[in-house]
Structure formats: C-alpha cells, structure tokens
C-alpha cells in the first residue's frame, strides 16, 4: 500500500556503442531497436481542448514496425505520435492499441514512409520474465530527464512485486492483473516505455515507474504479461476482460479465524455495490475456494493479481462457478461476468460553454452511489465563459440539460449543437455532493 509515484518518463534513442566489446551481439541489436516517442496529446482539464507534448521511450518488436511502450506514454488522447529511430531519423506512428490495466500500448511505425525513406531498424526479442532471479544483472535503456542514449545497470531486486493503483495511468486503473519486476537499475522520469533487458539483450520487462525521491526503486511490467498483451493488441486493438466486482484480499494470518488450511482460498474484502458478485449474493468476508472447479490460493498479496487475472480472462457474459465459504458453510455461487470497464469515461470539451466533461461510467456511478450512469462529470470550466458564469464548477455532475437526461456524451453533443445553432438560455440540472441545483447557462 505504498503510494505509487508514477513517473512520466522520457525515452531516448540509444545508439550502438562504438566500443561495445564487452557487450553481446544481442545487446547491440537491442540498442538499435530502442526508440524515442514524441507525443502530442489532447487534454480536457480546463474547460477546453488543450494540447500538450511529452516524450517517452519504446522498443520495436517486429520488422513491420510494431513498437511497444507504456499506456501512460501513448494513449487514445494522442493526436500526433512520432518515433525517433536509433539512427536519429524520425518517422510517424499510429496507436494500434492501448491497455491501461497493464500500462502498455502498441504503436505501428508509418511503414510506407519508412520504406520510401529507406529507414532501417532492428527489432528486439522477448526474454522469459518467469526465469529471472533476484540478483540477476539487468539493464534499462531510455531517456531519463532527456539524456538520450542512457543505459543503466542494476539487478533484479524482486520478481513479483504487487502494485495495483486505482488511478495510476493518467487517472486510469492499473496493475491489478500482473505483478511487477523491481530493479535497482536507475529509472528516472524519461525511462517510461523503454525495455529492461538481460545481458544478451532480451527484453524481460518494460520499465514503467519508480519512486521519486527513493534510491533506485524502479518497476517494470514483466515480459510474460507484455507478450500476451502485444498478441491481443496487435490482433484486436484492445483487450476485453471480465468483471465480477470483488476486491480480493490475502488470507495470511486469517486462516485460523476462517478455519482454513494454509494456501486455501482468497478472502473477499469488498463487493462493489450492484456488481455481478453483489447480485449473486456474495458478501465481504466470504472466502472463495475454487473458481470453475480450480482451487485458488490467495494467501499472500503477491498471489492476488493471478487470481484477478483468472477471473478477468473468462469470456464476458460467461458464468463463473464459485465455491465460497461463509462461516462454517460452503456454498456454490454462479456469477455471470460483465465487461470490465474503467471508471474513467470518455471526455469532451464544449468550447462555447467553456466546459469540459467526462462521461459518468458504470464503475464511477457505483463508486459514488449514483442511481445510474446518467450524466457527465465536469472536468473544468473556463473562467468567464458561460458555464463558469452560470455557477458550474469542477466535479459537478450534469444530469439534465433543458430537462432532458444526459444519458450519453452524444446526447450532450446534440444539446450543444442546438445551442450553437441558436444560442439561448439553457437549463442545466447539476448534482454536487448529492445536492441537486439548477443553473442557467446564458450565451
């Protein structure tokens, strides 16, 4: 439960060392596959659409130009992506897919352009993160603080660090479905998305975060997770997961209380209100013993991501058979999974109102005990613009406009289109801390 400090890392091109005598061919090849990624992305924070620029690292994975990086480097908010190759040539790229849950994103280099310009690059090879061991020497490659061509060396400090964060990737949830490799190779802001490699240049992780102000506590997504994510993102452009709405908790030291043998079951710490698990009758304090007949073991926090992944990997809408211990009784429950959704909804800006919003998601509605997912959350208002003058402020939830419920972002866009076509006083119904207020937004 340490506070996670996500560092936005700037990546860099790493040139092959002229005298890399001590280094393997594999390592030199890896250096040729590491890229710098320049991102221009849209933000909806201050009541309008704004653009910001950032830099990250990435690693080329295939001859046809797939580049792996962090989700917090390249997201669907990106409007312009460019990749700087090891030979310093810059080429455009587009987002193939994005998965904030694992903090990974996949890009594709503009191959037509690359071919036309005869740009050459190599691609890196994945190693097996399951066989790395604490103490093994590893290298991180990236652009810490804009210092290009930085290779840092360290060891694997821990092979299975649990690291879930409900708002770790630009406000999106992350880290529930995998553990992380911990390394003392210097990871600084700017390393994000770059590879963590063994001496032979095999990618065993994607460096992603570190504790700011700490001494060399860096973290990387293991290649076992990354490989799987790359496969799915390159095939479908997205990853669909299942959700049942339980928050698991390790059973360590509680086995006696629950009259369980060690390494048996996982405790439910919390059940999301209105979730499939809640509807099926599961409660906090229940212990899940098996999922679809397979025994689960959630004795330690390190084991929880695996259990979450097991549930998430089931097809959406499938029925999970859970055997659950409550008190002395063991009962079977059937839970029909839902599609896992972020609590961060789609964002938009209504420039003439000076208002930027985010759709209320199902998860957000549950978390905040809203009746349903009607409405949009105000991300920001522009000072002096109609929404601000009317009295709206950040955090408000707009539930109705001109007495019509805002069931979707499109519904709101339609209201806005009506307003821009013929500006007239418009009635907003707003909820702020459960209090309902009415405001008139005037042209």
């Amino acid at each position: 439960m340490l506070p996670a400090v996500l560092t936005i890392m700037l990546a860099l091109v790493v040139m092959p060392f002229a005298r890399a005598a001590g280094m393997s061919r594999g390592f030199n090849r890896l250096l040729d596959a590491v890229v710098r990624i320049d991102v221009r992305e849209v933000e909806f924070d201050g009541g309008s659409r704004r653009y910001s620029a950032s830099i990250g690292s990435g690693v080329i994975l295939s001859d046809d130009g797939l580049v792996l990086t962090n989700a917090h480097v390249a997201s669907p908010r990106a409007v312009e992506l460019s990749v700087t190759l090891a030979n310093l040539e810059r080429v455009g790229a587009r987002l193939v897919g994005w998965d904030h849950w694992t903090d990974l994103a996949l890009l594709r280099i503009d191959m037509a352009d690359a071919k036309q310009r005869h740009l050459h690059f190599t691609h890196a090879v994945f190693g097996d993160s399951n066989v790395v061991y604490p103490g093994e020497v590893v290298y991180a490659v990236g652009t810490p603080y804009g210092l290009t061509r930085t290779v840092t060396r360290g060891i694997i400090s821990n092979t299975a660090r649990p690291f879930a964060d409900t708002a770790g990737v630009e406000g999106y949830e992350t880290g529930m479905f995998n553990t992380w490799l911990q390394t003392d190779a210097a990871i600084n802001p700017g390393n994000s998305g770059g590879p963590l490699v063994t001496g032979d240049g095999k990618v065993i992780g994607i460096t992603s975060r570190s504790y700011l102000g700490a001494n060399n506590l860096g973290f990387a997504i293991p290649s076992a997770t990354a490989k799987h994510v790359v496969d799915l993102l390159s095939r479908d452009g997205k990853i669909t997961r299942s959700y049942i709405g339980v928050v698991p908790r390790s059973l360590q030291d509680l086995e006696a209380f629950y009259s369980l043998a060690s390494n048996t079951g996982v405790l439910i710490d919390s059940v999301d209100p209105g979730s499939p698990a809640a509807r099926a009758g599961l409660r906090a304090g229940d212990v899940i013993l098996t999922v679809n007949g397979a025994k689960v073991d959630g004795r330690f926090p390190e084991q929880l991501p695996g259990i979450e992944l097991l549930i998430a990997s089931q097809p959406v809408g499938s029925t999970l058979a859970l055997s659950v211990k409550r008190g002395v009784e063991v009962r079977s429950y059937s839970v029909v999974t839902e599609k896992l959704e972020s609590r961060v909804g789609e964002e938009w800006a209504f420039e003439n109102w000076g208002l930027s919003v985010r759709k209320v998601s199902r998860a957000y509605a549950r978390e905040n005990q809203l009746d349903d997912d009607t409405g949009v959350i105000v991300l920001g208002v522009r000072s002096g613009f109609p929404a601000d003058t009317a009295g709206l402020s950040r955090g408000d939830i707009i539930t109705k406009i001109n007495q019509r419920p805002i069931s979707s972002l499109d519904r709101m866009k339609a209201e806005y289109a009506g307003y821009t076509a013929k500006p007239a006083p418009t009635l907003f119904e707003v909820q702020r801390d459960r209090r309902v207020s009415l405001y008139i937004v005037k042209p």
Partner: protein, 469 residues
C-alpha cells in the same frame, strides 16, 4: 421582511446620522453608567466536553434572559457533534469577577439554535435580564444609528468587560433580520444596545472578512479571517425577544419537528425566469428521506418548493439563505403540525400536506461506549448515519466508530473514525447493545489474541484483524 423599508430610509440617511451624532454626543456622559448597568446581563460561561479519553474546556459568552438566571448561548457555542452526556461542569463568571458559580445546561432549542443554561440561585440577584432593557417603543434600529456592545477579555484577565461602539451600516434578512455595524460591536452571544441603552439585538458569530496575505516572494494569497472574539453582526431585537420563552422542556431539546426534505438548494432568478415563475423564489429538493413525513406527503426529489402554507418563499440575498428559511419554517413548528407545500414538479404546480414528524435520534443523542483495551469508542448507528451513507432503513445495523485511540490494537489494525462496523468475529452486529455485548466479552477475555472486524468505509468494505497480544 424585505430590505425595501431600509432603503426607503436611505433618503434621510445623512440627516439621520447627523442627528445620531448629536444624540451620541449628548449621551456620551451616560454611556459609562449605561455600560455598568448592562454588564449585569452578560456572563462568561465555561464548560467541559468530557469523553472517556480527555476533557476539553470551552469558554463562551452568554446573555441573561429572565429572572430565573436563564442564559442563552449561540448555537455555535457548543459543538453539535458532542454528546449531550459529555457536556459537563458548566460554570458562570461575572464580568471582571475571578470567581465562578456552577450552572446547569438546559438543552438546545431547534428553532433559534440557542443553548440554554441556568445560573445558580446564589448569583441570580446579581443578574439583570436583557428584557429589562427592551425598547419601550419597539422601534427597530435604523441605518447609521449609533450602536454599542460589550466584549469580555480572557479568563486570566477575569473576563474584564470592555466597550465597543460603531454605527449600523446595513440591515439584511439572512433570513433573520440582521444588523451589520461598521466595526465589531460585541462578543458573539452578547447584547447590542443603542445610544439610549435599549436592547437592539444579539451579536451573532462574526462573518468572514477577505484579506490578502503576502508571502515572502511578494505573492498575494486571498485568505478569509474570522474574528471569533468580536462580531459586527447582530440579530435584531425582534428576532430575539419573541423567542426568549423557548426554553427546552428537556435537555434533548425535544420535541423537534421533522420534514425529511434533504439537500435543499436555492433556485436562482434566471432559473425562475426560465421556468416561467417570474420573480418567484424557491428551493430544489435533492432527496426525500426514506420514511420521512415529506415522503409520506408525496414530495419527490427534484420538486421545487415555492410556498409554505400558501405563503411564497421570499426572495433573499444571498439566495443561499433560502434553505435556512425553509428549515426555520419547519423548526418553528411542532411534531404533528401540518405544513402545506406548494411545489413545482416538471411544469405542474402541486400542493402537498405533510404532517411533521419527530426528528429521528440525533448524533448528539446517540449512545456511546468506550473500550479502553481495544482502543475505540463505538456509537449507535443513527438515522443521520444512514442518510450520510445512503443506506436503506432495512440495512440499518451495526455501529459507527466514534474514536480510535492512537497506537491501540484497533488503530494498528487500520480501523478509522467513522468506519461502520458490520460484523464482529464473522457475526453480524445488529444493534448497539449487540456490539457492546460482543466487544465487552472480547475486552474481558484476557486470553484472546485477536478478533476480526468487517467494516465499511464509503462503498468499500474491509476485513480487519485486530491483534490483542
């Protein structure tokens, strides 16, 4: 009611203040004797909020209201979160007198918000009720009138009284008619007088004033400062004198009327215009509480209350005081009274009649119990807890953590104040008595090494293992 009469007088404001000045000059020689005489209507009140783990003394100011030594304190003089049973050792100090005499707490009146305290008979003949200085004419003070009041120094200065004086700058309905002087004129809770020594009002808690605070780099930071010792705002005498008889019949202040319309939000003028309501004032009902008189009367969330018993809600400034106006309309009534509400629902005007109920158990009335070895105070789960947590009546069970002792077993286990305990050792906690019985048994059992709590915090729950040894 409205500000209109006050503005009507503005035309003669200059003339008025001139006369006021002359009168003040003439009255100046008398002010000291008026001051000495009126000192007998003010006292300092000290009391202790005693919990199982500490005793916190508080000093506040009060005004004598009758010949029985009854004293009123501002509603803010006592923390509304404190349990009535924790309020102890009330004592009264006369201004400039280092000695104190015991007093008795009588309770709080819901309508005025005043707390009532009664002085020991031994000092009653040294007190003069404020009613002795009530104006014979009943005339309200006017803009620019000279007004003065009393402040009391600190305890180590024996609450030495001192004079404050100013002129009336503004009268506003908030929703009570409130006079605002140019400068501080009295300690909150103490009376304000005119140049003849007539009682014109009771000082309220002072309003915040905006200042700029300059940091080292010359950067200005806006700050709001509130003077807690002296105030320039006072409720006019006719918002005070008619209600002095509202001495609570019981220490709980009951009966207290209850409607159950939650989250009243004022409707602004633009909204009224948009809804074709003209210059009508009103308030939006955010939620209608389960099982409340409002629910039984058919009030619905998002209804806009426009009138009470046929009387339109007045336009008030700032309009944020409109909800307070409606609350006062409820509080001035008694359980069983009827209250007719005219509401706008969509485009329709609907009339509803609610029979006011009895306010559900308040936080300050909730039962509490301290467990020293475990390190917590639990309190009864009251109706307000259900409202705050959006819980249906049927789900009302368990107890709330009122206090966590630092470094105690429950603190180390991660329990926090306001956590809602649902289960103890895997068994549901139904009532307060149930929780007390379970925790008492755990605390008494020297052999116990641990126990397990299931708590809810926000929409999440957590299983907490409390190690005892």
């Amino acid at each position: 009611m409205s500000l209109r009469p006050a503005f009507g007088r503005q035309a003669i404001l200059i003339c008025c203040s001139f006369l006021g000045l002359v009168a003040a000059l003439r009255a100046t020689p008398d002010l000291e004797s008026l001051f000495q005489e009126r000192l007998k209507s003010v006292v300092a009140v000290e009391y202790v909020t005693e919990t199982e783990v500490d005793r916190r003394p508080t000093i506040t100011m009060g005004t004598v209201i009758d010949g029985n030594g009854t004293i009123i304190l501002q509603s803010s003089a006592i923390d509304s979160r404190a349990a009535i049973s924790q309020l102890k050792d009330f004592r009264i100090y006369l201004p400039g007198d280092g000695t104190s005499t015991p007093a008795r707490y009588l309770g709080q009146d819901a309508f005025t918000g005043w707390h009532f305290v009664r002085a020991d008979p031994a000092i009653r003949d040294r007190l003069t009720p404020i009613t002795a200085f009530a104006p014979k004419s009943g005339a309200a003070p006017r803009l620019a009138d000279f007004v003065w009041g009393i402040g009391l120094r600190n305890k180590d200065e024996d609450f030495l009284p001192y004079l404050m004086q100013s002129h009336l700058a503004l009268i506003e309905a908030l929703p009570q008619k409130t006079g605002i002087a140019q400068q501080e004129i009295a300690a909150p809770g103490l009376p304000v007088f005119d140049r003849d020594g007539d009682f014109v009002g009771l000082a309220l808690s002072s309003f915040g004033q905006s200042f700029l605070q300059f940091g080292r780099g010359g950067h200005a930071q806006p700050v709001t400062l509130v003077n807690v010792e002296e105030s320039s705002a006072f409720a006019l005498a006719d918002e005070v004198l008619p209600y002095l008889g509202r001495i609570p019949a019981s220490i709980s202040g009951r009966p207290i009327a209850w409607l159950g319309a939650f989250g009243l939000e004022p409707m602004d003028r633009d909204v009224a215009k948009f809804l074709n309501l003209g210059s009508q004032s009103g308030a939006v009902v955010s939620e209608v509480l389960e099982g409340s008189p409002a629910e039984k009367a058919g009030l619905r969330p998002r209804d806009i209350i426009l009138a009470i018993d046929g009387k339109p809600i007045p336009q008030l400034r700032p309009n944020t005081v409109v909800p307070a106006y409606i609350d006062r309309e409820v509080d001035r009534r008694r359980p069983g009274d009827r209250m007719t509400l005219t509401v706008l629902r969509g485009t329709e005007h609907v009339e509803l009649t609610a029979v006011l109920g009895d306010e559900p158990t308040l936080l300050r009335e909730a039962q509490r119990k301290y467990f020293d070895r475990l390190g917590l105070i639990v309190r009864e789960f009251v109706y307000g807890d259900a409202v705050v947590r959006r819980i249906k009546t049927a789900e009302r069970s368990g107890v709330v953590v009122q206090y966590v002792k630092p470094n105690s077993p429950v603190d180390i286990a991660g329990l926090r104040e306001e956590d809602w305990i649902r289960e103890i050792d895997g068994t549901e906690v139904r009532t307060f008595a149930d929780a007390v019985q379970k925790l008492t048994a755990i605390e008494a059992d020297e052999m116990r090494t641990e126990f397990v709590l299931l708590v809810r915090r926000g929409t999440d729950t957590a299983v907490l293992r409390v190690k005892l040894r």
